[in-house]
């Protein structure tokens, strides 16, 4: 951090000023002139919060994707299918048992199993052949999409939000002051906050596991140099299977999350694959903090875009991607 400030004092200043302005926009009561210029504060605050929570969901999908890529150099284009598969499993479990929490656990286990099968049956056979693996995953994603369409139909599924999470809560952020002097607080859907917190917990846990545990050390070593790691006697194939299972399981959890606050239907697989590709390209391939930053940026861009420039909202995310590719092609937080 200090090194960044020393090396790029101007950039650091700009970032600090931008953060200060953002904090002011969030916490201050807006003067009437500003409300007239860019609309009500409630709308702005909602868009920011939505962007952050949507970023949480994107992070869940993209972190598994980036983890698998980082270790195995394997662009798994069937990642979106794992997301959708997890969502459908989650729906089936929550519909039959009524337990939302249980649906997460089972979805994680089953998608992780699919991940293990993929790694053992498909990827191990073509290790090191990046292009071939990529083509195979494209093919698999099409096959999975059709199988799921066959099994679940084209219907929209929504995972029932548990009753203690339905509805909004008041956040201690003032959006406006009534003429009587009474402050109006921001009302925000509780379920989105919970999901966001959960994704932060998962992100931190993953960071800790990677940086503070022995298995994390092995994985990091594998990211740096696979061959040397294998030569030191680590059972690298086992590590591959483990990482693939974890990445797939995260996609499965993300499917349950997505099915709860959005919906599940054919086509979602491609949408989330695309989203995680963009997130990972912006953040840096193979980097977990990069995935977090990328997810936050893309989530905010989508939501702020949909409020302030609705017609071009779709373009904004891709513009960001183009910009990153032009200025810093390896991604914002990539190490190399």
């Amino acid at each position: 951090m200090t090194r960044f400030v020393e090396r790029h004092p101007v950039w650091a200043l700009i970032v600090i000023v931008a953060i200060a302005i953002l904090l002011w926009l969030i916490f201050a009561v807006w003067p009437p002139g500003l409300e007239e210029a860019i609309g009500r504060k409630r709308v702005f605050l909602n868009a920011v919060f939505n962007g952050i929570t949507l970023g949480g969901l994107y992070f869940l999908v993209a972190s598994g994707f980036t983890l698998i890529f980082g270790l195995m150099r394997n662009v798994n284009l069937a990642h979106g299918s794992l997301y959708l598969f997890g969502g459908y499993i989650g729906y089936a479990i929550s519909a039959s048992t009524g337990s939302w929490i249980l649906s997460f656990i089972i979805a994680f286990i089953l998608t992780a199993l699919v991940g293990v099968l993929l790694q053992v049956i498909v990827f191990r056979r073509m290790e090191g052949q990046d292009l071939r693996q990529t083509m195979v995953t494209i093919g698999l994603s099409i096959v999975f999409a059709d199988l799921m369409l066959w099994a679940c139909g084209g219907d929209f599924y929504q995972i029932q939000t548990p009753s203690w999470l339905i509805g909004p809560i008041d956040l201690p952020l003032i959006t406006a002051v009534k003429s009587s002097g009474e402050p109006v607080y921001l009302r925000y859907p509780l379920v989105r906050l919970v999901i966001f917190l959960a994704s932060v917990v998962i992100g931190v846990a993953m960071w800790l596991a990677l940086n503070r545990t022995r298995i994390g050390m092995i994985i990091r070593a594998g990211v740096d140099d696979r061959d040397i790691l294998a030569a030191t006697g680590v059972r690298i194939q086992l590590v591959f299977v483990l990482v693939f299972a974890l990445g797939a399981g995260l996609a499965g959890i993300a499917g349950v999350v997505g099915g709860t606050f959005q919906s599940l239907s054919p086509g979602e697989d491609i949408r989330f694959l695309l989203a995680s590709l963009v997130v990972v390209i912006v953040g840096g391939m193979g980097s977990i903090p990069g995935a977090a930053l990328g997810a936050l940026i893309i989530g905010l861009a989508e939501q702020l875009g949909s409020v302030y420039i609705p017609t071009y909202a779709i373009v904004v995310t891709f513009l960001i991607m183009v910009l990153v590719l032009a200025v810093r092609p390896q991604g914002l937080l990539a190490r190399r």
Binding site: V43, N46, G154, Q262, S263, R271, S306, T311, A313
Partner: protein, 416 residues
């Protein structure tokens, strides 16, 4: 051994195809949105098409109708690609296509490049398709989006006493046409439309759109369909939304009313208008509902046919009746069929339909309200039936032309 039996199979199939060739076939290409946001709509459209074949049969005199189905995703280029594939590879002679608004405009333009073939619109409802520069070989036996909103604005103003409304709609031609119909009537009656929000087709996260909805309106009109509508409702419920709602024709439809989950309950009591009403007591409609229900097991269909099923049923019916009128004669660039279709009047489940000089349907429209049947299923209940709705919505054609074409900002909120 294996080789021998393979040869036998090949020979048998040769004979089989020979036998089939003896009977003359008429090949019809059908497109439906079986991918993307509107998948459920496409699937139910195909169910309506199947129901029509069950009822009317697939024989025209001694000729056999054969159908080839192609999938699209509601984008115009996917529709043109599917139609081109049906014509060039499958050699279809007649098309039953497409389902969605933008697709309709693209297929109509494409139809001009194949003047020898006949195109019957399956379900699309953008106004421009038949109103601007119509193709002489393109026939639409369903009403357009604006016709499907007739009665809604007036009913909301006079009976519900709504004075100010805002709209949220998907950003493409069919919803423009729907909002066009609504605004024209609501503002004509004296109401105000304060805000029109447009979201891209396929939007998943509506939270910010919901936050931006104005508070100071009597009702919010939703022009969404398919997955978008379900997502909106789900997030609307989570945000604790309480406003009065009004709905477009594919918003208040079995595709949404029978979606899984309980977010749809926000729609109970919602006022809407469409080319059909689930609980209409007309015997023709009831018979169609029964045929639809009998054709598919309960878990493979909706409790009652959606607007798409009804449209596909109507267009398939028009196709078969038209072909029967000329006894399957497709000679002379199908000119006899085209002439027969132009003057065909069909007794569709949702009322009598005839075509105007642009080959656009004139039919019956329904104002409805969503009710719970007591067992958790939602239906649209008729509150008003309006017969003989034409494309200019009862306006003098010269006045209507001055309003302009449906778009994000047209029509203005005023009395024309």
């Amino acid at each position: 051994m294996l080789k021998g039996s393979l040869g036998l199979i090949a020979l048998t199939s040769l004979f089989l195809s020979g036998a089939a060739m003896a009977q003359e076939k008429i090949k019809v290409g059908v497109t439906a949105t079986l991918e993307g946001t509107y998948t459920v709509l496409g699937e139910d459209g195909i169910r309506g098409h199947q129901t029509a074949l069950n009822v009317l049969g697939t024989k025209i005199g001694d000729k056999q109708l054969e159908f080839v189905i192609a999938s699209t995703d509601a984008t115009p280029d996917s529709a043109v690609r599917a139609v081109r594939k049906l014509i060039e590879q499958d050699k279809v002679q007649i098309l039953l296509s497409p389902l969605s608004g933008d697709e309709g405009i693209a297929v109509k333009n494409f139809a001009k490049t194949h003047p020898e073939l006949t195109f019957i619109n399956a379900a699309s409802g953008a106004q421009e398709t038949t109103y601007v520069d119509p193709a002489p070989n393109f026939f639409r036996f369903n009403m357009d989006g604006a016709q499907w909103q007739v009665g809604l604005g007036k009913y909301a103003y006079e009976e519900k006493k709504y004075r100010k409304i805002a709209t949220v709609g998907e950003d493409y031609s069919f919803i423009y046409t729907q909002v066009f119909g609504l605004v024209l009537e609501f503002c004509g009656a004296g109401g105000q439309v304060t805000n029109r929000q447009w979201v891209p087709l396929g939007t998943k996260d509506f939270a910010s759109v919901i936050a931006a909805l104005p508070d100071d309106v009597d009702a919010i009109y939703l022009g969404l369909g398919g997955a978008d509508a379900v997502n909106f409702l789900n997030q609307y419920q989570q945000a604790g939304g309480k406003a009065h709602l009004m709905g477009g024709s594919i918003m208040i439809d079995q595709t949404i009313l029978s979606s899984k989950g309980n977010a749809k309950n926000a729609l109970i009591g919602t006022l809407a208008a469409s080319g059909q009403a689930d609980t209409w007591e007309d015997p023709g409609w009831q018979k169609f509902v029964k045929n639809y229900q009998d054709a598919f097991p309960p878990n493979k269909r909706f409790p009652s046919p959606s607007l798409l099923a009804t449209n596909y049923y109507g267009s398939t019916m028009a196709l078969i009746l038209g072909l029967r009128a000329v006894n399957g004669d497709l000679s002379d660039n199908q000119s006899k069929l085209k002439a027969a279709l132009a003057k065909l009047e069909i007794d569709a489940p949702n009322g009598k339909i005839k075509l105007d000089s642009n080959r656009q349907a004139i039919g019956t429209n329904f104002v409805t309200e969503v009710v719970d049947d007591g067992k958790g299923a939602l239906f649209s209940k008729v509150v008003k039936v309006i017969p003989n709705v034409n494309q200019t919505l009862g306006y003098d054609p010269a006045v209507f032309a001055k309003i302009g074409l449906p778009s994000r900002t047209v029509p203005e909120c005023k009395k024309y």
